[in-house]
């Protein structure tokens, strides 16, 4: 394909940024206003660490919750202000010396991440579900994460009423990394952002109050495999640098297009070598596929989702996916559109395997958290179908899907935290039998989320799936859509099976009870239901919003 034709195609979803400044070394220019969302969150995280150091223990919880909520809300307000100021469309640009892009997709995804995190943080702060320990209200997190499970030290910490309030700064750091991840405009920033949001997540997975060993096992697995995948990604970054002589997205894209003639002398041997490009691309892509949980890089998902404290699972399942898919979109649509004849077939394969494997393996799951984990794998496959479309509609449909999916996920995991027995959360499916008889409201709410996962009309799941499949079909991936629909049918089986179990089975005499949560979790669930139904009944406004936000800056 000729270079000019390629440029013409890319201009469908990219606009030209101002040309970069000349090659002279000066003080870095930082556009604080446009980076405000990230700066607020990271700044608040630093303050949170200081709070841990200086605020008395009994006041920390309130201070941290307040700080976190305010920071996330303020960051969201900043995103809205930026979008309203035209930074999503006409004033979209590259900031921070070319490291960060501020454009429609970035702002949309940042907004989604911030809102999701905000409602997810409410479940972090929930302290009414577990019975009080020694007169202290406790949340889902270990009294003292550093204590060996079952040790005297742990018992003492529990007795003293300690709580791990460090989770709040950790969440803020993770959110900070997630905000940068989809906006990263060079490969190094991408990598840094990945590590910034991954490391807090590894820690968060390890701090469950109940089933601590399982939680720690999950964290270790996540950490090991995450490090493994990061290594691949970093190696891929190195190879791509070798190919293009730069880590900048725009520069790599130009080299791929063949519109760059100046060759960095040090790299004269390798520059323009397509083998380097292809291998490097595959490795970077692998790092991203790991984060979204695509097959065959998904195997951490069920173990980690099950072992992590449920609020963390909800946060991670929703926000990580948004951030990782955002980064993937930017990589594929900005850096490598010229390579799409290479990446599309590969992605086809990944999407098909992911959709089918996620749906099929979910059928035999008996634990609700593992079930939702496999469900998230299947959904990653559906979203990949939209990514593959390689059209502006593909971008907007993926954005919409991510927004819809993240609220359903946070809501569903919030409901999981409510169903409890003596051992904590009752996650085995057999214990959910007859829940609809005893707690019709909770079961009905969960049924709404399940129907949304299954993609039943009048829920956001349907709107999202329809948008994604429509984009994929129009992008020439009809066969993928057929497989997607088949997978949806298989997936519907296990979603509906849970509904049948809840409403049409006899309750067990020793069954779990449904804890009455504080307004915090109620808010999370209510927002989840509201968004799910709103995006299902009247999706057009949000589809339009995603459509307006679907042009990348380059």
């Amino acid at each position: 394909m000729s270079a000019s034709a390629a440029v013409a195609v890319h201009s469908l979803w990219t606009t030209a940024a101002e040309p970069a400044a000349a090659d002279r070394i000066g003080a870095p220019a930082i556009e604080y206003a446009q980076l405000a969302p990230t700066l607020i969150v990271v700044g608040a995280a630093v303050v949170g660490v200081l709070l841990e150091a200086f605020v008395p223990r009994r006041a920390r919880y309130h201070a941290q919750v307040f700080l976190t909520v305010v920071a996330l809300a303020a960051a969201f307000a900043a995103v809205v202000a930026l979008a309203a100021g035209g930074h999503a469309t006409t004033k979209a640009g590259i900031v921070a010396m070319g490291a960060i892009a501020v454009d429609g997709p970035a702002l949309f995804l940042q907004g989604t991440i911030l809102l999701t995190s905000l409602v997810a943080v409410f479940t972090f702060a929930e302290r009414r579900l577990d019975p009080a320990h020694h007169g202290h209200r406790v949340d889902s997190f270990a009294a003292e994460a550093a204590a060996v499970p079952g040790s005297e030290q742990e018992k003492a910490a529990v007795k003293a009423g300690f709580t791990t309030t460090e989770v709040f700064p950790l969440v803020l750091f993770a959110v900070g990394g997630m905000l940068v991840f989809p906006a990263a405009n060079d490969l190094l920033t991408l990598f840094i952002a990945l590590e910034v949001f991954s490391l807090p997540l590894y820690l968060l997975c390890a701090v469950a109050r109940r089933k601590r060993l399982m939680s720690q096992e999950a964290a270790v697995k996540y950490f090991l495999l995450g490090a493994f995948s990061s290594a691949f990604l970093l190696f891929g970054v190195a190879l791509m640098y070798g190919y293009a002589g730069s880590v900048s997205y725009a520069r790599i894209a130009d080299v791929v297009d063949g519109s760059v003639s100046d060759i960095t002398p040090a790299l004269a041997q390798t520059m323009g070598n397509d083998v380097l490009l292809l291998i490097g691309f595959a490795m970077v892509l692998m790092g991203l596929l790991f984060k979204v949980g695509a097959v065959p890089f998904h195997m951490w998902t069920p173990d980690v989702y099950q072992g992590a404290p449920t609020p963390v699972t909800g946060f991670m399942a929703a926000a990580t996916k948004v951030a990782a898919f955002g980064a993937m979109l930017r990589l594929l649509y900005v850096v490598l559109p010229g390579l799409r004849w290479d990446w599309r077939p590969v992605m086809w394969g990944v999407a098909i395997v992911t959709m089918l494997a996620g749906a099929i393996v979910a059928i035999t799951q008996t634990d609700i958290k593992r079930l939702l984990a496999y469900s998230s794998i299947a959904h990653a496959g559906f979203i990949l179908a939209g990514v593959i479309a390689a059209t502006p509609d593909g971008v907007s449909s993926v954005l919409f899907y991510l927004g819809a999916y993240s609220f359903v996920t946070v809501g569903a995991f919030a409901v999981v935290t409510l169903v409890r027995d003596a051992g904590g959360e009752a996650t085995h499916l057999s214990k959910w039998a007859g829940l609809g008889r005893r707690s019709p409201l909770v079961a009905a709410v969960f049924a709404v989320f399940l129907l949304a996962f299954a993609g039943i009309p009048l829920t956001s799941g349907f709107s999202g799936k329809f948008a994604v499949f429509k984009a994929a079909a129009e992008g020439g991936a009809g066969a993928l859509v057929v497989i997607g629909v088949i997978s949806s049918a298989i997936a519907a089986f296990f979603y509906i099976r849970v509904i049948v179990l809840m409403f049409f089975s006899e309750p067990k005499p020793e069954g779990p009870t449904v804890a009455v949560p504080s307004p915090l979790t109620m808010t999370t669930i209510a927002v989840g239901v509201a968004v799910t139904l709103a995006l299902g009944v009247a999706p057009q406004y949000f589809l339009d919003l995603a459509g307006q936000a679907s042009v990348f800056v380059r």
């Binding site: 493994f228 691949f232 292809l278 595959a282 892509l285 890089f297 195997m299 099929i360 799951q365």
Partner: protein, 646 residues
């Protein structure tokens, strides 16, 4: 004036609603309310009738548009009425005979504790039937048609504590459903062909439509008519429907409901006129049923079932006449009206006899009743003379015209139809004379009342003491007066209608009319009718009048035995439809279990099995996961490189 039309339907509907929803409070006055509203409907009908007479023949048609039911672009369904001479005739018949039967029921159902409900159902029936004949489009007609079916089901099964009544009601409903299906298909075909349901545009557009489509519509309408009017092959429900209270038999199965089919065919005359094949089918159905019913009527010892056979046969006459086209429509309707009088009279008479004989229905256990029930005897006798077509009485005028029209059909067909109608007239004379003689003449063959434990056939509320001999007596005034009034109709209606061809001229603007020209003179037709009639009466007299009637029925010839079993209609249905249906469902169930379920379950099982195998890959070891990731990356790289072909 046209605003009154809706009231015709509304009055009995109101009665039904009040009586059925009103509860026990209305038990004491319910029957009066029901009768009053039926009478009100009749009065409104009469007012409209005289108003109609006051206008010229071409201006008599009235329309009332009540509201739009389904106002959708391309699909207009209206609640709208059309009152023309044809519907007027039906309105008067339905409300007139209906009111008389309401009055009669006051006495007949006196001891029944569910009398209020009975009157509610009667009103519901009346309202549905009026809707049927007043609708100005086929969709609304269908509404009334179904309403009639529902009311009929409720009334036949009124004594639902009797399994036979419950079964009969179900049978009537199911058989009618077959016909209803025909009507609904016909309406759908009409909509796709004409784009509307309204009589006017549909019937006016028959000229521009292919004959094939019209034949299809016509045959479906005929199927519908067969269901409601108990014509072969959907005749089997009528005999069993006699399980209902006798006023129901009189109202539904003589005067009104069973005539709906005749109405439908006459109303759709334009369609049949343009579809000769469908018309021929109508004639054949009519002719076959005419003989079928008559033969069955000859063999029945149950007085009501004998009358039911006769009804079937007489409606066969009407259908046959309607199938003859413009030369027959008017006579079909005329026979329908006269038949409405005398058959209602005969049924009420039969009810009166049963009322006096401990609800015995077997004519072999009657005999010599003329002295004990003089009013019943005279009115029943006049009805009898009318139905056999005794010269001068109502039945003579209408039936004779049908026979003439049958001959006038022309060609071989005409001769065959003429012969069939003549033969039918002879058989009618035979079986009706048989009924008359066995019931009112000869020696008493009364039997003590059966033990109710062994044969719980008695109608509830009637006190029957086992072993007691019946004490036949005349029925109360409320029962005899309707009988007398109907007898007047049986005697004079036909003559009045024929005066200056009044009835034919009355209907002409709606149904069209052509003079038929029989190959033999009208006088000769009349003469042969009378001769055949006398032969029939003579044979019956020789068999039942000259010899004593055995109380236990003799075995009889093969034909007699078959006729007693309704010419094996139920055996036929059982073997062909029930067994066949069972076989079909069984094989479908087998298919469902093996093929459909097999595919579904097989798919589910294989997916589940795959799931079980795949989940074993998830073994919990981080090293295995890492290998999977490593392998995946290798494949990813290899695939990317392969795609490029480097």
């Amino acid at each position: 004036m046209e605003n009154l039309i809706a009231l015709l339907v509304a009055a009995p509907l109101l009665g039904a609603a009040v009586l059925l929803c009103g509860g026990r409070r209305l038990d004491r006055a319910g029957h009066w309310l029901g009768t009053l509203l039926a009478a009100a409907s009749f009065v409104i009908g009469a007012v409209l009738f005289f108003d109609m007479l006051g206008r010229g023949a071409e201006e008599r048609e009235l329309h009332q548009h009540l509201f739009s039911w389904v106002p959708v672009e391309g699909f207009q369904a209206d609640i709208a009425f059309q009152l023309d001479q044809l519907s007027m005739t039906f309105v008067l018949l339905i409300t007139g005979v209906g009111t008389l039967i309401h009055v009669y029921s006051i006495g007949y159902m006196e001891h029944d504790e569910r009398r209020r409900r009975f009157f509610g159902y009667l009103n519901l029936f009346l309202s549905a039937m009026l809707l049927l004949v007043l609708a100005d489009n086929y969709l609304l007609l269908y509404f009334g048609w179904e309403g009639v079916g529902l009311a009929s089901y409720l009334l036949i099964g009124f004594w639902q504590h009797k399994p036979s009544a419950a079964t009969a009601a179900k049978k009537a409903f199911l058989v009618n459903r077959v016909g209803d299906m025909g009507l609904s298909i016909a309406i759908m075909l009409m909509f796709t062909t004409f784009g509307t349901f309204t009589f006017g545009p549909v019937l006016a557009a028959t000229g521009e439509t292919s004959e094939g489509m019209l034949t299809a519509i016509g045959l479906m309408l005929l199927l519908a008519a067969c269901g409601k009017s108990a014509q072969v092959p959907l005749q089997s429900w009528l005999g069993d429907a006699m399980e209902g209270p006798t006023p129901v038999s009189a109202l539904i199965h003589a005067a009104t409901m069973v005539t709906a089919g005749v109405y439908l065919i006459t109303r759709s005359g334009a369609i049949f006129n343009a579809a000769p094949d469908a018309q021929l089918a109508v004639v054949v159905v009519g002719a076959v049923t005419l003989l079928f019913g008559a033969i069955v009527g000859c063999a029945k010892d149950d007085i009501k079932k004998a009358l039911a056979g006769s009804t079937m046969s007489q409606i066969g006459y009407m259908i046959l006449a309607a199938g003859l086209g413009p030369i027959g429509y008017a006579f079909a309707i005329m026979h329908l009206v006269t038949h409405g009088f005398f058959k209602a009279g005969l049924f009420l008479g039969a009810g009166s006899v049963m009322h006096g004989m401990n609800d015995e229905v077997d004519m072999r256990k009657y005999g010599g009743l003329r002295k004990y029930m003089p009013v019943t005897f005279v009115t029943f006798g006049l009805g009898y003379l009318a139905i056999i077509g005794f010269p001068g009485l109502s039945g003579f005028w209408s039936k004779d015209k049908i026979i003439e029209a049958a001959f006038a059909k022309g060609g071989t067909e005409g001769w065959i139809l003429g012969a069939v109608t003549l033969l039918g007239a002879g058989i009618t004379a035979y079986y009706m004379t048989r009924v008359m003689i066995m019931t009112f003449f000869g020696e008493k063959r009364w039997q003590p009342a059966p033990d109710p434990d062994k044969a719980p056939s008695a109608e509830p509320g009637v006190e029957v003491h086992p072993g007691e001999m019946p004490h036949p007596h005349e029925s109360p005034r409320s029962m005899t007066i309707p009988m007398i009034l109907l007898a007047f109709g049986s005697v004079f209606a036909g003559g009045l209608f024929s005066l200056n061809s009044a009835f034919v001229n009355w209907l002409k603007p709606v149904t069209e009319f052509e003079h038929g020209h029989p190959p033999i003179s009208a006088g000769a037709v009349t003469a042969s009718t009378v001769v055949v009639l006398l032969i029939g009466v003579g044979i019956a007299y020789a068999q039942y009048g000259r010899r004593p009637v055995p109380v236990v029925a003799p075995r009889g010839s093969l034909l007699t035995r078959a006729a007693r079993r309704d010419l094996l209609q139920d055996d036929f249905n059982h073997i062909v439809l029930v067994r066949g249906g069972e076989h079909l469902t069984r094989s479908l169930v087998y298919m469902d279990h093996t093929l459909v379920d097999g595919v579904v379950n097989g798919t589910a099982a294989s997916v589940g099995g795959l799931s079980g195998r795949l989940r074993r890959l998830q073994n919990g070891f981080a090293r295995s996961y890492a290998v999977s990731m490593f392998g995946g990356t290798a494949v990813l790289i290899a695939a990317t490189l392969l795609m490029r072909g480097v």
